[in-house]
Homo-oligomer: 337 residues x 4
Amino acid sequence: MLQFAQFGAGRIGTIHAGNITASGAAALRYVVDVDRKAATALARRHGAKVTDTATALADPEVDAVLIASSTDTHADLVIAAARAGKAIFCEKPIDLSLARVDACLAAVRKARVPIMVGFNRRFDPSFAALQGRIAAGDIGVVEQVIISSRDPGLPPLGYLKVSGGQFRDMTIHDFDMARWLLGEEPVEVYATGSVLVDPAVGRIGDIDSAMVVMRTRSGRLCHINNSRRASYGYDQRIEVHGSKGRLMAGNRVPTTVELADGAAVSTDKPLHFFLERYAEAYRFELAAFIEAVRMRKRMPVGPADGRQALVLAEAALRSLRTRRPVRVSTIGGGRGR
Amino acid sequence: MLQFAQFGAGRIGTIHAGNITASGAAALRYVVDVDRKAATALARRHGAKVTDTATALADPEVDAVLIASSTDTHADLVIAAARAGKAIFCEKPIDLSLARVDACLAAVRKARVPIMVGFNRRFDPSFAALQGRIAAGDIGVVEQVIISSRDPGLPPLGYLKVSGGQFRDMTIHDFDMARWLLGEEPVEVYATGSVLVDPAVGRIGDIDSAMVVMRTRSGRLCHINNSRRASYGYDQRIEVHGSKGRLMAGNRVPTTVELADGAAVSTDKPLHFFLERYAEAYRFELAAFIEAVRMRKRMPVGPADGRQALVLAEAALRSLRTRRPVRVSTIGGGRGR
Amino acid sequence: MLQFAQFGAGRIGTIHAGNITASGAAALRYVVDVDRKAATALARRHGAKVTDTATALADPEVDAVLIASSTDTHADLVIAAARAGKAIFCEKPIDLSLARVDACLAAVRKARVPIMVGFNRRFDPSFAALQGRIAAGDIGVVEQVIISSRDPGLPPLGYLKVSGGQFRDMTIHDFDMARWLLGEEPVEVYATGSVLVDPAVGRIGDIDSAMVVMRTRSGRLCHINNSRRASYGYDQRIEVHGSKGRLMAGNRVPTTVELADGAAVSTDKPLHFFLERYAEAYRFELAAFIEAVRMRKRMPVGPADGRQALVLAEAALRSLRTRRPVRVSTIGGGRGR
Amino acid sequence: MLQFAQFGAGRIGTIHAGNITASGAAALRYVVDVDRKAATALARRHGAKVTDTATALADPEVDAVLIASSTDTHADLVIAAARAGKAIFCEKPIDLSLARVDACLAAVRKARVPIMVGFNRRFDPSFAALQGRIAAGDIGVVEQVIISSRDPGLPPLGYLKVSGGQFRDMTIHDFDMARWLLGEEPVEVYATGSVLVDPAVGRIGDIDSAMVVMRTRSGRLCHINNSRRASYGYDQRIEVHGSKGRLMAGNRVPTTVELADGAAVSTDKPLHFFLERYAEAYRFELAAFIEAVRMRKRMPVGPADGRQALVLAEAALRSLRTRRPVRVSTIGGGRGR
């Protein structure tokens, strides 16, 4: 049984803790959170102990850490865990600053510990199957990727203020999906955005609606559209065009019920909440991490993946501000080797 | 925590044991199975003990029994558990003989213990939502119910021989759904069947393909079609027509991936295996039982439901043999009060 | 150019006349209708003349007659047209009486004229494609056919009184589809019905809701469900199960528009009116008739087809009345050779 | 009856001529085409005469001209028809040069004749219904428009060489749809493209794959994706997001047949050929023109619409070449009043 120390007992930490226990191959040993009450509740539910960071990392029984605390604490925890020789699962993003991400990755490389970044969507059964079918050649050579990624509603402004902005907070998932599906690195990013949902978002210097176009070296194209509001639910769809066909994967619905009456034929809205929509993705993601640690396999989402999605987000932000396409190679000094 | 003694550690027992543990409101205390190895493995996974029937029922700590052993053992276990004063969850059917079912129900009534029969489909989220919308009046007065219920493949002949025949083994679920959705008891049953899948089924006196039509007192109509083979997966669909519209609920698919290529637009086949298709149904079913026992609420599927579905199966069997519609009132002496 | 004399200038006659002209291979020469005004209007639109039956049939320039007048006039017109040596397209049914149908068919055989009965649904692009794929072996051997056939609303009672009842008026189309898709003749029919839509239907001795089950010699099964009311539109669906898979074909919608909002995801209701739903079917049907007459090919829907669908309707009616399954061989003295 | 002189007897001219005749409110009087044989065949089918441009325009009986000849002849014909005082229906584009378009529009204004540009997609029943529902407020305020527009296959290189390039030839339809659906004029255009389908396209200086992002003054966003190849058929989909919901409209399929077998659940590919896909659109488009001429109503697609779509295409082309977003106001000196 892989022994975990987990940092963060909030909403997403609760999900991860449940998946650790349910995996059958790992156990939650410690929970660390500044909110002592939340830590205690979560620890009790999983037979774990509440402790502090130093104690957790000092315990030689701990094999792995799961970092699900607030974003500003990720980098320090990654570095400390690396020094302690633990395998690391870190929720996205590692940090909002590329320089700090690079410092983390350097620490990880030096310590030679495995690290996985929490891009959960790669583990969604539909998106994973779609990617598998691209890899199997079902649509020939990939030519265009179209990602629709729309949140059901605006998060609290307090959250948005420290989120790093829409590209680093929300689109970063789509940048990762784009890289994963395009089969080539984007070399140029054009991004534009608007404040259409709530003027308050504009007042804190952010946007709530965005469109991005990216190109790869060989000319493959990718479009991402985002909004912070989709009244009908969490809208997460992917479409990939290749030389031989098209693959699509879409939303999940709570039931298959269809009503036909005098007005229309109507079906369920997509699942509304990201924890429901991606419940399986979170479970499979953690299982993949546990498996990789136990079997000493290559991490399915490595540190370069975490860094490169952030690079694309930075490029998008610069494009938004300069109103011009941005060469990815001008961001952060290359691919972070 | 509700303490369970479970009889049966096979495929379906494994599912139920998992749901007991995962419920958070109950614990598995004992596992009883003639297959000692299976019992031991299951007990270990859930921190339970392997024991025999008498010991399990004699333990005053045991609140409830879960009967998931082979069909021929159900009746004796129900009676013994009733006498021991335990709440009873019994997999369908209680017994293949209506007389024995009546004996069981008499024992239960005498002991005044709660009993629930495992008609899991009522707890499928889609079917439950469909029924809820009928109850909410979305389609006005129910007029016709159409149930398509087709297994992915033929079970082993050894199983079929002791199954009680297609109507009592397979269609019994559909009879329960029909009663639940029609909102009135069927009063007449016409059934016909064929051996189309495998002649070996005919040689043991059973059928593998069937069509049923039922009427209620006020003239509501219900059709059921069954087959023991559906090469594309487990096919479970319901359609209800009312004075104001139509409700349908259908199959679940593993992913939302769609491929469009030079040949066709294709999507996933329905889930193939009943334990996957009804995974949520089994979980919600057991949660409903636990809740009803703990809160001393009325059982969501009571003993009369178990009996009446069997009555309809008997009527169908008689119709098949006599080639005539059968009045339900001529079966088993009424509704078993 | 094939010259047509058409009997009947009503709703369905208007459709056929338009298709004659639009075919590019035929012309409307005469229109005959007791409603002189309707005849004149239709004739003018197509450059035809209004005349009487005798004149139309006596004109040697007339190659073919199209009978779309009221049902009670069909038989006399068929016999007269046969004697005049014209090719005959007759709307369903030839007659409500099997004896009169037999008299018609005898006249047709004697005159050796080609006759086609208007079972338009065989020419619906979706149903035709479905049947073609059965014939191509896409689902192996046919085992079960399920036909849902539901009218959007009740016709006027005046029409119902002379319609011959639901089985001969409405289900007759489904009986034809069943024969066409089963690949074997039904040998036994069980039918039941109710008055659920409007008690007035019951007062004239008819039903408005029905369910039928039929068997073929080798045990293939067919279910038909009917209602005179479907608030959501004209509901016409077919499902065929074979040893290797399932084929379905369904309703047509006016547009592909889908709305997702805070309430649901909703799409268009099916087309409401049979003339819209089957517009293409009527066009292809007439083109097939014209082609068969011109090329002296076998009629795609022959006189035996018209007769046999009526035999099944008669069997269903007897089953409804006797509350027992009826052997098809006991109706009307065999297959009408 | 509106009398038409038609220029062009090719593929698209054949469609328009058929729709003139079928309209019931107009007649084809003249056909003009350099291909005398094609002109003769088409004229004969519709009872029209073959003639030359001068004769056709000099005939005072001619009310309207339909210009469906090759693109390079459109401008001269528009100017000549305007001087002759005829109502004008002109296939898109009026011309590939904005200066010549402006000269045409000046001639039309001077002659005070009505002119309609052939943006047929506005008349597609699904797209028209979608636009109508936006107008009805079904999704609140429009925020984002996403247009997928992909041809089934590459046209001949000979055609591409004189086509004006992908933006002016193909995307121009999407630019018109974008303007129509956004409810505001785009003020900035970013476009990028690649040669992914066939290197030969690159050798003639064109692209075959493109992505466009546009902004309106208030920040509404629009994305267009194009490809000259979609192995699964003609792919034409629109998605509009508003403050209250999402509207989508998609492809049409030849039949509703669905096959479920051991491999997958598969349905028809979209219609392959644009004349099939937009058959209804062409019919409704011409009916709208005829109606507008007869009732002296405002043209549903006016000359400014034709011009502005071309302006957006020019902006896209400049963006592609300069690799920067382009302000629409810098193209062609404003909106062409």
